[in-house]
């Protein structure tokens, strides 16, 4: 069965510093990996995805993520954090399930960026 883990409930970083939000996954086949962001009282917004190809994928708002097959990880990164990046971040994995592809979400990591 597929699963995704976000080991940190919260990440704190100072504005201007690099940030990393961690994600590990488990799937039976080839993973399709996603990151979403959720602002207060809003739905989830897509940030970036890994399907195949280059292990480093770039997404919205300057975010990027690195796919590491040997470590089964897909960590979200940004070189320089902004206060406006403060939000809830979800890693998601899609694997083929009965009848089609099911997207499973991690529990989320809250990012606080301090000015």
């Amino acid at each position: 069965a597929q699963s995704v883990a976000q080991p940190e409930d919260q990440v704190n970083v100072a504005e201007g510093n690099p940030l990393t939000v961690k994600c590990t996954y488990s799937v039976s086949g080839n993973p399709y990996l996603f990151w979403y962001v959720q602002y207060p009282n809003r739905g989830l917004q897509f940030l970036l995805k890994y399907i195949t190809g280059d292990n480093l994928v770039k997404g919205s708002y300057g975010f990027e993520a690195e796919f590491n097959k040997s470590q089964t990880s897909f960590h979200l990164k940004k070189p320089s954090a902004l206060v406006s990046d403060s939000a809830l971040y979800f890693c998601a994995v899609r694997d083929k399930a009965t009848g089609g592809f099911k997207t499973i979400f991690g529990a989320g990591t809250r990012l606080f960026v301090k000015a």
Partner: protein, 115 residues
């Protein structure tokens, strides 16, 4: 392009009452999802439709929850009777196709409080 529309945004009911949520996906999106997001947790898939057929409803509590997607467009999620533990945000999402590698597009959610 119009996004995923959901209503109502907020609903407060007493336990054992019933409630219904409505979702209108992005035009042309064949796949529609209902997720339950309990405070502090990641979204949990309740049911997934491909056009007007059910792809996955393995985590839908069928004794009290029901969902339909008539004509393969709009969808309604119903809870009857509600329990205290049903308090959550109900997120509707859509995607172009169940087999594709694209992202999910989420509505802003319907927040349910059961007293």
């Amino acid at each position: 392009e119009a996004g995923v529309a959901q209503s109502p945004r907020y609903k407060i009911i007493e336990k054992r009452q019933s409630v219904a949520f409505w979702c209108n996906p992005i035009s042309g999106h064949a796949t529609l999802y209902w997720y339950q997001q309990i405070l502090g947790q990641g979204p949990k898939l309740l049911i997934q439709f491909q056009n007007n057929g059910v792809v996955d409803d393995s985590q839908l509590p069928k004794d009290r929850f029901s969902a339909e997607r008539l004509k393969g467009v709009d969808s309604t999620l119903k809870i009857q009777p509600a329990k205290l533990e049903d308090s959550a945000v109900y997120l509707c999402a859509s995607s172009l196709d169940v087999v594709n590698t694209g992202e999910l597009f989420f509505g802003e959610g319907s927040r349910l409080t059961v007293l």
